[in-house]
Structure formats: C-alpha cells, structure tokens
C-alpha cells in the first residue's frame, strides 16, 4: 500500500476541558461537537474555531448525550437524575423527567422524531415535542444498551437475559399521537452489554459479560454465538457496509466477517497494537476505517481487511475516554481521562 493513499489522523482541535469527557456526539452537519463531562457541564465545541459554548449543567456529572438526526434537539441525562431536551440554536432547555435513579441510555430514532430513554429497567419513548408516546415499558432487567434499527421504528433494548425488539406503530412519529408497541423477545442466557445494528438493519450484535458475542439475524429469525474471548466483550461496532463487526475484549480487536456464509465457521481477523484494555471501538460511518482507543493512552486508526497494523495512531495524555465520528466520517473526536479533547480530520493524504 503506498503512503500516498494512507488515511491520516490530522489533529484540528486540541482543548483542555479539565474534566473527564463522559459522552459526546457530533451535530448532524459535523460542525459542532456536543460534549458532557464528569463535572456535569454540557458544552458545544465549534470544530472550526475551537470555541466552547456552555449549554447547561447536570449536577454531579453527565451520563449521556444524544443529538437529533437531521435536527437541532439535544438530549442529555445526568447523575442528578434529570433528562433534559435542549435546542442547540437557542440553547434553551426543558426538563423531560427527574427521578432518583439514573437514565443512562438516550437514543433518537433514525428520523429524529422519537427519543428513547432507558432508566434502569424502564424504557420511555418521547416525541420531539417532549411528550411521552407510550406508557413506560418495564424490561425484565436493567437496559445495558439500546439502539434503534436503521430505518424504521424498531428499538432494541439489551440486558441480562437477551434482547427485546420494540416495534412502534407507525403513528408514533406523529405529533401528539399515542403509539402501539409490539415487543418481540430474543432471549439469550447471559448478560448482553452492547447493542450494534448492521447498517442494513439485518443483524443485531451484542457483546456479553461472559466473553462471547451474540448475533441475531432479525429478518431470518436466526441467531448464533461466537465464544472464546478471555474477558467480557464490552465493545462492538459494525462497518458501514454491514460486512464487518469489530469487537473488543481486553487488548485485542477481533473482527468478524459477515460476507459469504460468515461469520460462522470463519476465522476472525485479529488486530493488536494496544498494550492495555480497550475502551472505545468505532467504525467510520460511510467509510472503511475503524478507530480504537485504550487505557494505554493511544488512539489507533485501522483498515481492517487491508492492513493488519494501524494506518495511523496518536498518543493522548491519559486513558482514552471517548471516540466519536461525525456522520459523514470526516471528523473523529477523542477525549482522554485528563480532560483533553482532540478532533482529528481523517483524510486521505
């Protein structure tokens, strides 16, 4: 491979938040990064100017943030037990709910009309007007992960005992309408920790506490499991073409290939460079690259299937806390445990 076409991490922003970056998300246009930190501050980073603007505070720390696809709404939750909905333009926010327990999971539906909030074992679905579309849906256990199926109105919640698929009626997106919900159980022994849909919506994958990966082919109603991990699988990410699933356990990245008859019976690709436990793993949307980060303070960029070594890497000041791609795959944000935030432009040089 000639270096002329090698993708590089070009750092465009480096700022010190001073607090642990807990969660972040790019605006749909990729120009702004919303970041929430361990002190509870929500800020908007303008990528072009590196300017930070405060958006609000969750006393005690931010837990999760989400940005409405194609829109201007920002959802956030914190250790104060609050879930807030803010307008990115006016920066005005309203309280959606407040409870003693935490709401750790936030996810906007693909069209941006619905917001799912997971609090312990309770799932709530709001419209973009902030009004609940269904009564709260109690799950059998805490929601460890959840993700909307690409295209459509189906939400997967995962936890101890498997996955559940919640199909919302087509009226759910309409303003003020109550939605019907049909729930399909995909039981599995063990505790599911992650939720990754293949972008084509066919496969739902999850990493498990006991060191395996579970796949559900929702359309074909089949499932399979890949074992052999030495530790829990806390990271999963699908490639943009739905062909590769990257999984992370301990220091190793294991990539399963879904082309042909895979991944059953196929040897996974193993990518190793990190010397401490992985903390982040994210395939590039609309591109072939995979970004990884670990407790070894390093962020690495890979081209799985093309090169077995990282195509580029960078050393941060602390353990990698988060990695987020912009929707177009051009920007990659990385935050470390010392509170330093970097934004790279990923370009073919």
């Amino acid at each position: 491979m000639s270096s002329a076409s090698q993708p590089r991490l070009q750092r465009r922003v480096r700022i010190l938040l001073g607090e642990y970056p807990v969660d972040a998300t790019f605006s749909p246009d990729g120009r702004t990064l919303l970041v929430g930190d361990g002190a509870g501050t929500l800020q908007l980073l303008d990528v072009a100017s590196s300017a930070l603007q405060p958006l609000g505070v969750h006393a005690g720390g931010v837990l999760a943030v989400a940005w409405q696809p194609g829109g201007k709404l920002i959802a956030s939750s914190g250790q104060d037990g609050e879930v807030r909905l803010a307008d990115a333009r006016t920066r005005e926010s309203r309280l959606l709910s407040k409870a003693a327990g935490w709401s750790e999971r936030l996810a906007f539906a693909p069209q941006g009309k619905l917001l799912a909030v997971g609090s312990g074992r309770t799932l709530r679905v709001y419209g973009s007007d902030g009004i609940e579309r269904t009564s709260p849906l109690q799950q059998p256990g805490a929601i460890n992960a959840m993700a909307w199926r690409p295209k459509g109105l189906e939400l997967a919640t995962l936890g101890n005992g498997g996955a559940r698929l919640h199909r919302l009626g087509s009226s759910a997106g309409a303003s003020g309408a109550a939605a019907s919900v049909e729930t399909v159980e995909h039981a599995h022994a063990g505790a599911c920790l992650t939720a990754s849909w293949s972008p084509d919506g066919r496969v739902l994958a999850s990493g498990l506490q006991e060191g395996s990966v579970q796949f559900w082919n929702i359309g074909a109603n089949t499932k399979s499991q890949m074992r052999g991990y030495g530790t829990k699988v806390a990271l999963t990410s699908f490639s943009a073409n739905s062909r590769l699933l990257a999984t992370g356990a301990d220091q190793a990245i294991v990539v399963w290939d879904f082309s042909g008859g895979g991944p059953e019976g196929s040897e996974p690709l193993q990518l190793s460079t990190h010397t401490a436990r992985l903390t982040q793993l994210a395939f590039q949307p609309q591109g072939p690259l995979l970004a990884s980060g670990a407790r070894d303070h390093r962020v690495a960029l890979w081209r799985p299937g093309v090169a077995t070594d990282p195509v580029d890497a960078d050393l941060l000041a602390g353990e990698l806390a988060l990695l987020r791609w912009s929707a177009d795959g051009r920007w990659l944000a990385a935050g470390d445990s010392t509170g330093q935030l970097s934004v790279y432009e990923v370009a073919l040089k």
């Binding site: 807990v22 250790q79 074992r121 460890n144 101890n160 022994a189 505790a191 506490q209 006991e210 436990r277």
Partner: protein, 478 residues
C-alpha cells in the same frame, strides 16, 4: 497507576440498622468523601450528591456457576463513578437485607474493568443483637452474610441483656470464627470500624494475623482441676440446664453438622424472647488429659493434642460407664446421669468439653476448676461454619497448589471465605492467601521473623468437613 478506590460492602438484615449507620456516615464530619451505592431505596437522604440508587441485578453465566455470578448494577454504576474519582475517597455499597455477599465480592475480582480501578476493602455485616438468633435459624441469607463478613457489627446491644448478648456472640462465632465482633448501640461507631479495614489487602491482613487467624477448636470449654488418683464422679443433667433453657434457643433448627454429632432439633422457631423448652443435647464429646501445668498455660499447651484427639470418633459412653483419660468419649446424655472418671495418678487434669458445661448441666464432684477457658462455639443455627487448622510443619508449595486447586474446584460453591498464612519449606517468606468461593488470591509476603513458623488456615463455608480439610492439609506436608 493511580491508587485503586477502596470499596466497603455493608450487609445486614432488615432492621439491623444499616440506614442509621449510613446516615451517620454521610452526616458526620470525618474528613472522608464517600460515594454510596444504595440497593435499598428511599431511606437515606438521596439528595446527597454521592448517593446513587441502583436495583440489584445478578449476571449469571450460562453454566450456572454461582462463583462466576457478578452484580451488573455495580459494574454499571462504578463504571460511571470512576469517571469522577477525584471527588470521593471511598465507595460504600449498601446491599439489600437479603443480598448474597458472594456475587458482590466476586464482582471486584471477576470484572476486568472494575479490577483496574477498585479494590474491595472489607465486607461488613451489621447484626441486630435482638433478632439475630432467630434470623440465623430461619433465613439462610443471614448466615451467609455473617459467614462472609470481615467484621461483625453487633448492633442494638442496649436492647438485650447480657445473656442474650452472649448468645448472639456465640451464634456469630459458630459461623464465623475469625471476624472481630464490634458491639454497638444505635450504630454509633467510629468510621474506622467500617471503612479502611483492608481485609482483602494481603499485606495488611498480615499485620493483624494473630487475631484474624485464631483457629476455631472442636471443643468449647476446658477446665483445669487438681485431682487425686482414683474414681471421680462426672455429673450431667444438673439443675442448671433446666433453669436456663432460655439460654439455649440458639440450638433450634440447626442441622447436624459434618464433624459434629449434634441432633437436629426441629421443634420450631419460637420467639427467642419467650423462654421455651426444647430438645436437650443427646450427646456430647468429652476428653480428659493430664495437664502439663496448672493454670491457663497448662490449658494452652494441651490445645493441639486435644484438637487432634477430638478429631477421632468418640467412644460412646452410656450413663454409669467409666471414662479413662486420653480417650475421646461421646457421652450419651439422658437427663440426670453419672459417669465415673478413673485417674491413674494425682495431679492437674484437664476436662475438655464439646459444649459449654452450662449447656448440659455438667459438673465434676469435688473441687472447682482452678482455671477454665471458653472457645468459640460450634453450635449451628445454620449449616455454615468455620474450620481452622494450625500446624507448624513445613509444606510443599506444589502440593499446596494441587490441594487448594482441587478444593476450589470441588467445594468452591460451599466455601464462602478462606484465609491463610503458610510455612513453605525452605522459603524465608510467608505465603499469604485468601479466597471468595472459587476466586483465589495468594502471594509470598514479608519474611518470617524470629517467631515460630506456623501454618494457619481458616475456612468458612457450608457443610465443611474437618476431616476432609485436615486430610488435604496433611497431603501438603513436605
């Protein structure tokens, strides 16, 4: 590598005073910043910024091994807390009254992420002095919490009389022979009694190993008597027993325990505050040995011999039969009975009893004992108990590895805790270990000093068999 964050686990039955203790810890000015994870909602001031409510959730593995079960709620909450580790010094987990401490402890050894940031400090059990005997008899979780504990906080001592308190302590000792018992009323405790105990720190455990490894004995009482040669009358079923049946409700509901010949009493679980009758002991072990000297030191020097002899099956003695020194006997008790003790010579003699004399109205006609000592109770309200081994002989590290490996594989589900200091042949340093179910942690620590090199092991668990453990130990002697 930053210091790991210490985590204290607070267990205790409903009504034991956990909420009172927690509120004290949160409101008192002790200079420590404590994050609290609360599985029981609503009773503690949740507006406190560092009190986090989380519903208990067990993550079991497909193979169903309880030793691999971890607590998902703790993994989830602690993963968030580690992101703000500069804001607190210590984590306290308040479990529900019925929680099994095993998965809580295992979480800190099994989950790879938590292991990097957190270190289990100690498991502290809060116990209600007024109700503990009844709870131990009726609910397995109570015995488990006591068995798992590194420290037992005996609360509400102002609500019971001395006899009830003593009974509560004996019941706790029967299950957990090593955890210090701290008495308290209204959970008024210095914070040092709860936080910073370092019970899982092998280095620190060593610094107080004399207390943490005082081995339990198969007997409860030794009296030292100055006796002449010839026949002496031993007397059981004395009036004491009938006057004090109130003292005996801790016998109720126990099951025959491996290694001990108790009869199970199935006569219900009456309110311990009301005196009530119950089935008396049917058998009791007895051993008479010549004392190497008078007083406590004479008792002390005969302990190992007495322990060894008590390990062999007792010769059954019916009322009226004769007893000779040096033979472990099992007296068949039948109300008021007499046994003849034949002594070959005059001197100082030790009478060693499986149960305290008060429990079966024991007396020796003649002089009162010049010295006497009580040992930990091995009465069982529960099938959980402690077994200790003390032995100076050097061990072979490879054989120890085989034995403990086998033990964890075969009995890991029954062993709640194990701790030990081992004397390896030719090794100048002590080998120190502890275990929770099948999780084992051990390493060579500081050198043996000028004192005696002695192996000390304690196992706390369900249906433990002293003979099996001693045979295993024996196989390790170098």
């Amino acid at each position: 590598m930053p210091q790991k964050i210490p985590v204290t686990v607070l267990t205790g039955f409903l009504g034991s005073g956990k909420t009172t203790l927690l509120n004290r810890i949160l409101s008192e000015n002790h200079g420590k910043r404590i994050a609290v994870i609360e599985n029981e909602f609503g009773e503690v001031a949740v507006d406190h910024e560092l009190v986090i409510g989380a519903e208990e959730e067990l993550f079991e593995t497909a193979n169903g091994c309880i030793c691999c079960t971890v607590r998902g709620d703790l993994i989830r909450v602690l993963d968030q807390l580690r992101k703000r580790r500069d804001r607190f010094d210590h984590v306290l987990i308040e479990t529900t009254g019925l929680a099994d401490p095993g998965p809580v402890a295992q979480t800190f050894f099994v989950d790879e992420d938590l292991k990097e940031d957190f270190q289990l400090d100690a498991i502290v059990a809060l116990v209600d002095a007024l109700h503990i005997n009844e709870q131990l008899a009726e609910v397995d979780a109570a015995a488990e919490q006591v068995g798992f504990a590194d420290v037992l906080l005996l609360n509400k001592t102002d609500l019971v009389d001395d006899a009830q308190l003593a009974r509560a302590e004996r019941a706790l000792r029967a299950i957990n022979a090593t955890a210090p018992i701290v008495r308290t009323r209204r959970a008024e405790l210095p914070i040092d009694a709860v936080l910073g105990l370092g019970a899982f720190d092998l280095n620190r455990a060593l610094q107080r190993d004399d207390r943490f490894l005082e081995a339990p004995r198969p007997f409860e009482w030794i009296g030292s008597y100055a006796l002449g040669a010839g026949r002496h009358d031993l007397h059981t079923g004395g009036a004491h027993h009938h006057d004090h049946d109130h003292d005996h409700d801790h016998e109720h509901g126990h099951e025959a325990h491996a290694g001990h010949d108790h009869d199970a009493h199935d006569d219900g679980h009456a309110d311990p505050h009301a005196g009530h009758d119950h089935g008396a002991l049917a058998k009791v072990g007895l051993l008479v040995l010549p004392a190497p000297g008078a007083g406590e030191s004479g008792i002390e020097s005969a302990l190992d011999e007495a322990t060894r002899l008590f390990g062999s099956p007792g010769a059954l003695k019916r009322p009226g039969s004769a007893i000779e020194p040096g033979v472990h006997c099992t007296l068949a008790l039948d109300g008021h009975a007499h046994f003849g003790l034949e002594l070959p010579k005059a001197g100082q003699w030790l009478v060693i009893l499986e149960h305290a004399p008060v429990e079966f109205g024991f007396s020796l006609m003649g002089p009162a004992p010049g010295a006497q000592r009580e040992y930990g109770s091995h009465h069982h309200d529960s099938d959980i108990g402690s077994i200790g081994i003390q032995d100076p002989r050097p061990l072979d590290p490879g054989k120890v590895n085989d034995w403990l490996g086998y033990l964890l594989q075969s009995r890991g589900q029954d062993i709640l805790r194990m701790k030990g200091v081992l004397n390896f042949r030719g090794e100048p340093r002590r080998y120190v270990f502890h275990g929770v179910h099948m999780i084992f942690d051990g390493q060579l620590e500081r050198p043996w000093g000028s004192g005696e090199r002695i192996n000390r092991l304690v196992f706390i668990g369900r249906n433990l068999d002293r003979n099996e453990l001693e045979a295993g130990f024996e196989s390790c002697v170098a």
